[in-house]
Symmetry: C2
Subunit: 701 residues, 2 copies
């Protein structure tokens, strides 16, 4: 369907002299905009219920008059849009972008400056952004802070992490808004780089549920050339206000008109599953800018990684050097400590395993010189991204991988030293071209260099996108860890195939994640883009992996399988080590089977913090995959398989928690059964506490 | 002469239990080092006179024990060195590097950390630096400040500019040290980027003269991967202390052992001319690192520049755009304002002029898109360094230049947006290769981006050197304006052929320079490296150049000629416009004749603030050139030409101020005369106030 021509209707929907309204195509979502006492104000309802009470908008500027008040509406236009587009990769083959739009033009009388607000209202929510047209009296301006309010209509339940300029790697806390302040201190666990700003500051996306059953999600879309938004709560009045990430000088954004902010988004429904299936964030982003996307392909991978994260082995090569200088580094003078898994023999082993079991790529961390002192030293020239360790033969290993139909996956840990990364980026990407790498996992562990900048400030957001667009010139896909949380840019730049930007599986090894963690992440972190969660851990008792570890993976094995379905991502790692998988080859079969790209996706059941059940159909195929992840209480339900093609017969292989399974005491107890099913089948399923189940459903021949 | 093997002499020169001394080869300069109450202390004398009273050394660290006291000497070594080397370009063919060295090894008992101090003592001064050997208890450390003192033995006269983290473009003030505080405010004139730090803070190099006739110069050599040093004066006790430039967080340096600071230098003599002829700063730098230097050649150039600086014309192309975005810029939609001298016809005119008069290159500023809003907007993506304006045909003009035996000189104004410059640097240098440019004038006008960093901090010093070493890969020479003042790195990287980094000729157009300015600059700014002063202005009344201007060039025409001799530089511009030179072709002949590279140089007469008379012999030739620049009082003297080859006959062409010349009232009054001279000749010469003279002395056939 194509775009309907815009209709210019001055105050056609006006409710009062200065007010305008726009509704969703189905009429259930309504957004009202007004200028009250010169202050831009909006509100939102869903099905007649208040989602956002009247909330003000505006920007405070540095050394210039603020854009907070003194406004009049000088024009408004509404239009409708309806188009279906196909993502390069995704949960569904088609995505419908259907909205009604309201563009309000404001003029600040005393300064003769213009500011527009654009609202796009969908059946499942809305987004709005500020726009600053080219104009005489507003050219270059510096944002002191943005003051976009989101006034909540009650003391909602929220799933939140502490607001922080440098990390998102926190467990989620479920609490009422009024409890955030008291729970904040306990929610802040240690991180290599962290900077909180308020006892009631939280990050987006923020998932909430009202007492009358509305689910509300706040986030942003299309974060380009701007500072990342957090939300600061006035917990007397239950009003959230945007709180941007500062730069090294404390300013929050440098803009040049014509300019626009990212979209501030509100997804709403009375059905939790709509939070998960919403495409609002992607739809607000610009279409793909690449003419050729044939080189962008979802990736299933294994890797030399958990041996270090879980197994306690090293990225480094030697303990002989207290510190290294890449300019003068000579490993031939040192003694290897023998705990370096990124070596020729071990990598070949992973390549063999990947080839045998149908994986696309093998990630190798610790392949390059410099790891001896990479962490915590604010080191500028920390890596060169090109020189391998003496025991990593980059040519031989890539040739070997290719001979087996597998690729190596590159690793660029930047250690937060971003000028250094940019200086080496061209050579690093050239090296990847030379040896046949087409994807890179990048990282930004530790405090940023340029010192004073934060991970989520405008400066770094510009860098992350630069790394992606430069990679595209080399037909390279990027999976950026510790970068800013995604905001749907993967629609525009689909070689951004993943981010971490949340607390991932590695924390199961460090400190454990809450067993409900993966029942929250899709509501929160996965809005805006997939996560490289790296699931698939089969050995939960970390002491068996590393005698020095106290860790425990708070998940059953069956739930680990389910995550390949419930945690949608075009990039999926089977993160454990081959030796462990070899002991559970029957369970591993699910990981081998599960696709990473889909034609259809259905969220069958969902409640944040409790359970998620999803079903997906392989892209270009007829097989379906179902996954369930649950929290502390487990989850029992009856699944209807009515998404299957009527009249067709399938064989379902069910990987479920054993009846006595439990994430803590008995995680590896699973039962695999086969069953003939069809669209009429109803399955009684039960997930253990911190457990789940995974089902592959393949048409019978 | 070759290096004498080091002699390890533990306390061989010791004066007391803990004290050591090292003297210059001729014995006149003595440096004593001691640890008094655990504090490293040094002092210096020249010919028995105190140059530096006992002064302490040390570093204050961030979040770590300071390196200020608690030291013992655990070893010392002395050695001697004597080697003559040939610079790629310079004032003389040979440079003798002859010193005695003292290396003192200190241990801080309580922390078991080691710090060395290395002193090199020359006949004309000394340098010292801190060294931090590889060691267990000092690996990564952050400098809060360096506390190197230079205690003066009296209220010396000094020629100083205000200490500033971002600019050196101040007129020099001549005063006693005790007067600095009272004169500071008046000394601070406006600049696009400036940050003072103390009412008694000054920059290096600092030139002083004691009441008993000693000249003392303080500076630094080999500023690599460190913050630039200013001097803060305790004006009760007349003690200078190092004051480094902070980064965005207020820290002053990030070091990783093994590390060394730059050399802190003290040049001393009872003869002012020795200040100018000293090679101490170059000698302390590392030898040239390039194996091939055949592509590095001194340059004499003209350029499209004064038309804008003096003439009020524009770098930009149009007035139609309040601001530009390079991504979407389309000049075809705009109307050119017609004041853009960087256009095809005009540039060809300069090429013709250069070819006719034997100049090597033609600088063109304003050739590239983006100048409409480059200044004062803290704009990140301000230039792309590649795309010409519609009226600048980069291929045609370079071909045209080459057909005439001339090159164009590239211009990279960065507007202080340094990440942007580094992102484009490879492509920018490639473009230069493609069109046959081999030299670039770069600029850093305005506040730095990354915001919060300063022009002279460690971050930017690293960048300036990066730009030079990257340029070398393309066989490109660099002339960096607004960069950190040079510290002799041109010995190591001789493609760094110039810096501005001081108040240059452009200020004659803006506000006028003091008529004595060029009698001070060689004492101060020229220590450490040449200056692209861009002299040769023949029209002093700026109103004749630009009706809107009130400016006046505070110099006689004859003195402008002299500057090509007195302001040594391998890069010299004839900065005025061809139309003006055409009116004074007889005087212009000197500029045409004067070389830019020398076998010999003599400073005949010199007094800071008063006069400088220099004589130089062409590299590989027999002709000599003499120049005199004088201050407010003019200068009369009798010159001995005994530097000429005995027995040889020469013809001297003397370009002198007319008897009634004066920089203010009658600057263009000059007299040209010819004279047969030889080594026995004595010339009675007179320079007007703010005047001078230039003499070319060519062997008679």
């Amino acid at each position: 369907m194509t775009r309907i021509a815009p209709a210019v209707l001055l105050a056609a929907f006006s409710l009062a002299a200065n007010a305008v309204e726009v509704k969703s195509p189905d009429g259930k979502v309504a957004v009202d905009f007004d200028v009250k006492n010169g202050v831009p104000t909006y509100s939102m309802t869903f099905d007649g219920k208040t989602v956002i009470k009247p909330s003000t908008l505006g920007l405070e500027l540095v050394n210039a008059n603020d854009l907070m008040d003194g406004f009049n509406i000088v024009g408004s236009e509404t239009s409708a849009f309806d188009e279906t587009w196909q993502p390069v990769w995704g949960e569904t083959k088609d995505i419908r972008n259907h909205y009604n739009e309201l563009l309000v033009k404001l003029r600040q009388t005393s300064t003769d400056r213009f500011m527009n607000l654009r609202f796009r209202v969908y059946d499942d929510g809305m987004g709005f952004r500020y726009e600053f047209p080219q104009q005489k009296n507003l050219v270059y301006f510096v944002v002191k802070d943005e003051h976009s309010q989101f006034a909540m209509n009650g003391d909602h339940t929220a799933w939140w992490i502490p607001g922080d300029y440098d990390t998102q790697e926190y467990d989620y806390t479920e609490s009422r808004l009024s409890q955030i302040r008291g729970l904040m201190e306990g929610a802040i666990t240690d991180n290599a780089s962290q900077t909180q700003f308020s006892p009631t500051g939280v990050q987006t996306s923020l998932q909430m549920k009202t007492d009358d059953g509305l689910y509300i999600n706040l986030h942003e879309a299309a974060l380009v050339d701007y500072s990342c938004m957090h939300l600061n709560l006035d917990d007397k009045n239950m009003v959230f206000e945007s709180w941007l990430t500062p730069d090294a000088q404390g300013n929050k954004g440098h803009l040049q008109a014509p300019a626009k902010t990212p979209w501030r988004t509100v997804i709403v429904s009375d059905d939790a599953r709509d939070m998960l299936s919403s495409n609002l964030i992607l739809n607000l982003n610009e279409p793909c800018v690449y003419t050729d996307t044939s080189w962008i392909k979802p990736v299933k991978y294994v890797g030399v990684w958990w041996e270090m994260i879980g197994g306690g082995k090293q990225w480094s090569y030697t303990f002989d050097l207290p510190s290294v200088k890449l300019e003068t580094l000579d490993y031939s003078q040192t003694k290897p400590h023998g705990q370096h898994p990124a070596n020729n023999e071990n990598v070949k082993k992973y390549i063999d395993f990947a080839a045998e079991h149908g994986f696309d790529q093998v990630l190798v961390e610790g392949w390059n010189i410099g790891w001896e002192d990479w962490f915590g030293n604010s080191k500028d020239y920390v890596f060169d991204f090109q020189t391998p360790y003496p025991d990593f033969d980059i040519k031989m290993l890539n040739d070997y991988a290719h001979s087996k139909g597998v690729r190596l996956m590159m690793h660029h840990e930047t250690s937060g030293s971003v000028r250094n990364y940019e200086r080496h980026m061209e050579a690093a990407y050239d090296l990847m071209d030379k040896y046949g790498y087409n994807s890179v996992k990048s990282g930004y562990v530790g405090n940023m260099i340029p010192r004073g900048e934060h991970h989520y400030g405008q400066w770094l957001n510009n860098h992350y996108l630069y790394a992606v667009t430069e990679a595209a010139k080399h037909k390279i896909m990027v999976n950026a860890h510790e970068a800013v949380r995604p905001t749907g840019l993967c629609r525009t730049y689909p070689n951004l195939i993943g981010n971490e930007s949340a607390r991932g599986t590695e924390y199961e090894s460090f400190a454990g994640n809450k067993p409900s963690h993966t029942t929250v992440l899709p509501f929160t972190r996965l809005q805006g883009g997939p996560m490289d969660y790296t699931p698939g851990i089969f050995e939960m008792d970390m002491k068996k992996v590393n005698p020095n570890s106290q860790g425990h993976v708070n998940s059953t094995l069956a739930r680990q399988l389910a995550l390949y379905v419930t945690m949608y991502s075009p990039l999926q790692m089977a993160a454990d080590v081959p030796e462990v998988y070899n002991r559970f080859m029957d369970a591993f079969q699910f990981i081998k089977d599960v696709p990473v790209d889909w034609d259809e996706s259905r969220y069958l059941e969902a409640e944040p913090g409790q359970y998620i059940v999803a079903a997906r159909k392989r892209k270009g195929g007829d097989d379906w995959y179902v996954g369930c992840t649950s929290g502390e209480n487990g989850h029992a339900s009856t699944l209807s398989l009515d998404f299957l093609e009527p009249g067709k017969k399938y064989e379902a292989t069910i990987y479920a928690d054993a009846p006595d399974a439990h994430y803590q005491n008995n995680p590896q107890a699973y039962v695999i059964s086969k069953k003939k099913v069809d669209a009429k089948t109803r399955l009684k399923m039960k997930a253990a506490p911190g457990g789940g189940y995974a089902i592959s459903i393949k048409p019978m021949k």
